[in-house]
Every structure is written in C-alpha cells, then in structure tokens.
Amino acid sequence: MRFSKKNLLSLAGAILIYFLVYWLQAAGVISAFQEINLMMVGINIILAVSLNLIVGFTGQLALGHAGFMAVGAYVSAILTTNLGQPFPVAILAGACTAAVAGIIIGLPTLRLRGDYLAIATLGFGEIIRGAANNINYIGGAAGMIGIPQLTNWTWLYLMMVLTILVIVNFLNSTHGRACVAIRENEIAAETMGINTTYYKVLAFAMGAFFAGIAGALYAHYFYLIQPATFTFFRSFDILVMVVFGGLGSITGSIIAAAAITIINAALQDLAVLRMVIYAVLLIVIMVFRPQGLMGTREFTLDRWVPKRGEASGSAGN
C-alpha cells in the first residue's frame, strides 16, 4: 500500500474514532440506549453504502436490500446458534451467501431496466422473506431467538470501515468507472468494451455481500430475528437514506444513515406522530433538494490537506 498524506490522516482519524468510542464505552459514558443506536447507525451505514453502490453508482434501481440483509442474518445466526461456529466464520458465510443471492437476483433481472427492475427486486426481497416464513428450521414466522450477542463496537466498527474502504477503493478504480459508465449510458458503456452484465452482477453481488454483513451484525446484536424484520419497508428505509444522502455520494450515505437513525430514535416518544413528521420532512427535503444532501459530491479531507499533483477526477468525485 502506498500512503499519501491524505490517506494517513484518514487512517489516523479512523483509529482515533475507534479508540475514543471504545474508551467512552469502557468508562460507561455511553448509555445502553446510545449503544443500541450506535449499533443501528453502523449497521445502517453499511446498508446504505452498499445499496448506493448498486443504485447510486451502477444505476440499477433495487428495492430488495432487506432481503440480502435477511440472508446474512439467518445464515450467520444458524452458524453460530445451531452449528456452534465462531462469529467471524458466521459473518463471512452470511455475507457470501448473500452475495450468491445477489448473483442469483442479478443474473436473471439484468434484462430489466428502471422500474421493472425495481419491482422485480422488491419481489425477490419478498420471496426471501416468504421463504423464511415457511422454513421451520429457522423458526418460521416466530423467527430465531437466542442468537448469541456477539456484535460489539469492535466488530461493528471493523466491518463498517471495511465496507467503506472496499467500496470506495473499488469505485475509484477502472472497475468502479465501468459501473458508473453503465449508469450514465449502458449502450455506450457496452460499446466501449465494458462487459455490462458482469459489472451489474458484480455490483449486485458486492452490495449484497455487505448487506449480508449488516444482517449478521444485526442478528448478533438484537439476538432475535424474524421475517417481519426484513419487509420491503426496510428496503425503502435504506433507499431513503441513499437518496437523501445523495446518489453517488458515499459520504452522503454515511451522513444520511447516521442522521436518519438518530432522529428516528430521538422521536420515539412522539409515537405515530414521528412517522408523520418523518414523512413530511422527507417530502419537503426532496422537493427542495432533490439531489440529496451531498449530490454526487464527497466530503473529503482535500479541503484541509493540499492536493497531490494530479487530480483524481474519479467516479465518486
């Protein structure tokens, strides 16, 4: 690896945040309530960033992200709870199974575009949920309970940083540019020698892989998973975070995922009113800022660190 000043600073920042939270937690400053929401923030960031890869960068409107999350959650939970496997193995297996599900969904639906793809992926999500509802081994509608609570700050942070790092590095390469080219003009991309099928499936597989990780983290923190946890409403929630943050902006997704999760938790005492407020805010913000908070821009350290000689006029910027 080569480290520029910028990279070093980011790395230092990332490590600093980790230890800061770790220390706060150890010192008991972070309450249980805050911890739960910290976990949800992390899980939602992973979900939003991974969905942004599919929707924002590759331009494939997918509404089945909760389905991938469910696959990751169930597979990892089976491994730890029923088969006694260690947590890292469970995470990896959950993520890989979800990626396979992503490929299975990606391959046949490639012929579909836009809204047809959206409804087909929504359908796939519901099929996964329907399947979980009908498999007694994983508890059917009652779901699985008694999953060991293995997710902690360290695992969450590690996985979150890994997700962001992998996706950002992917996007800032010729492979990421190939994805963005598909979004911009699929026919032109194909005649530029880009195997669009391959990259669309790859985007689905990668997005699903990380959604699977999020699912595994979720299952092993909230100790109980049910098919009802993974309805298309959750897919909508994730999509809202992505669009809200800005399609094609990773930092936008991160900020939006954190903001929406925290606001939602803060308004719990308003009962159903909070959902009304959420809905009104959603409409107002979209109408006045349809490109989302960040548009396609990224919040970078470039502002504070002098740029290297060449500008990286890359996909994400």
């Binding site: 530029m192 880009i194 006029g313």
Partner: protein, 264 residues
C-alpha cells in the same frame, strides 16, 4: 484479405426486412461511406456490426473471424468501435473519465488489486491516465478534461465521442452521422480530423452521413442503401451519377455537394 466482410446480412423486425442480403467488404485502411434515405437501414447495419442486434441471417467476418452472436463488448474487444447518431457520452462524468472508461478493457489490474490498492493498481491507473491525457492532447480537449462532458459545446462533444471510440484502440471505426448538426466550417474541420486520425491510428473507417460534401469529399468508396438493400456501390463519382441513387436519394435538382435552392 478484407478486414470486414458481411455476406447476405439480413435482419427483420416482425416481418419487416430492415436490412436484406447486404454484402459489404472493407479492405484494411479504407474509408468507406454508407448513405441512403432515412429508414434505409444504415444505423441498423451499424447495430448489427456492433452486436446490438443479432442478424436473422447472414455472416459478419471481421479479421477472419465471425462476429455473429458476440456481445457488443466482445466485438469492441475484437477491434470495432463506434460513435452514435445521437451523441452518447457519459454526460455527468468528466471528459477525462469518459476517455479513461474507454481504456477500461485494456487495463490489466483486477478487482482485488483495486480494493487492496496493490502496486499493480497504481501502475495500471498511471498508465490509463497518461494515455488518456495523451489522447485528449491530440484532440485538443485537454483544457476541458475536468469539465462534465455534457457541458461541452456540441462540436467538442462530437470530437470527444470520436476520441473516446479511439481510446478503445479499434482497427475499424464506425462513425454514425459525425457531421450531424455541424455547420460547413465545422464539417470541414471534421473532414480533416477524420483523414488525420485514419493515418495516425492506422484505421479503417465506415461512416454514415447525409452531408454529401463530407461523403463525397473524403470517402474512397460508397455504399448506397435503400429499403434495406444495397442499390449501388462504387467511388463517389459513379455514385453521383448513378440513376437509381438520384431517383431514390439525391434528387434531380441536386448533384454533388450540399443541395442548392432554387432562387438564391
């Protein structure tokens, strides 16, 4: 040996023969024009050559190998690149990225290299960047390299599209109405450019165009298409005087260069 050869190339859409029994033959290094009335099947032929459509019947031989059944990206990788009648740039991306994307399939580093930022990633990216900027310099697009492609003036967009096609390093370049929407001055410059890249990149070019000044001016040979069939083939002089072509396409009053009106 011919670089590109089609035999009995035919495609029908729901019973309608859009292209029927077309035999084209392009020698290495030739510059050939494809003209004909609207709906004669010119763009359809391009779509057949680039794999967007699959022929109902017939054969496409490029460099000695059949192209039928290959996907567009595979055909590009075999060495055919094209531009589009309605410009298809990656509008929201920078000019530089438009070119870098076209270098994509030449890049040698894999996904894992990208994710883990291994040395081959940095080498690969550096090479792509250098080549892309070189190409932009050649096309005098360097000043725009960080502009969004859609913000470029029209003529520049056309040039960028040609540059992007060249970045795929083709042996055969297909240009679909490159002069559409250009004024005579711009068209003239375009002619010079086409001639120049042909030499510089050692290209064979097939182009569709309505602007007769361009077609007659630079093409060595011309195919005339009407109702999906080739009705004439030959050097510009022959085509200009071909009765059938005048009947179907050029019209009585015009002859040769851009049509002249009656009372000026």
């Amino acid at each position: 040996m011919a670089l590109l050869e089609t035999r009995d190339l035919t495609i029908s859409f729901g019973g309608l023969m859009a292209v029927a029994n077309v035999d084209l033959c392009l020698q290495q290094g030739e510059l050939v024009g494809l003209i004909g009335p609207n709906g004669a099947g010119k763009t359809t032929i391009f779509n057949l050559l680039t794999g967007v459509y699959r022929p109902t019947r017939g054969e496409i031989i490029f460099n000695g190998r059949s192209l039928v059944g290959l996907k567009p990206y595979q055909i590009t990788q075999r060495g055919i690149a094209r531009t589009f009648q309605n410009i298809r740039l990656f509008g929201n991306l920078s000019v530089l990225d438009n070119i870098r994307i076209a270098y994509h399939w030449h890049s040698r580093y894999g996904i894992l290299n990208a994710i883990f930022r291994l040395p081959s990633f940095h080498q690969g990216e550096a090479a792509i960047l250098a080549r892309s900027q070189e190409l932009l310099r050649i096309f005098k697009l360097e000043p725009y390299q960080y502009e969004k492609a859609k913000n470029l003036p029209y003529g520049e967009q056309r040039r960028l599209e040609i540059a992007r096609a060249l970045a795929a390093r083709p042996k055969l370049l297909l240009l679909d109405e490159p002069a559409a929407g250009m004024n005579p001055q711009e068209t003239k410059e375009l002619m010079t450019l086409i001639n120049w890249i042909r030499q510089e990149f050692d290209l064979t070019i097939l182009l569709i165009e309505h602007d007769m000044s361009l077609v007659m001016g630079i093409c060595e040979r011309i195919y005339v298409l009407d109702y999906g069939q080739v009705i004439a083939e030959g050097p510009p002089e022959d085509i200009r005087n071909n009765e059938r072509v005048i009947e179907a396409y050029l019209g009585r009053e015009v002859n040769g260069v851009a049509p002249q009106g009656g009372k000026s």
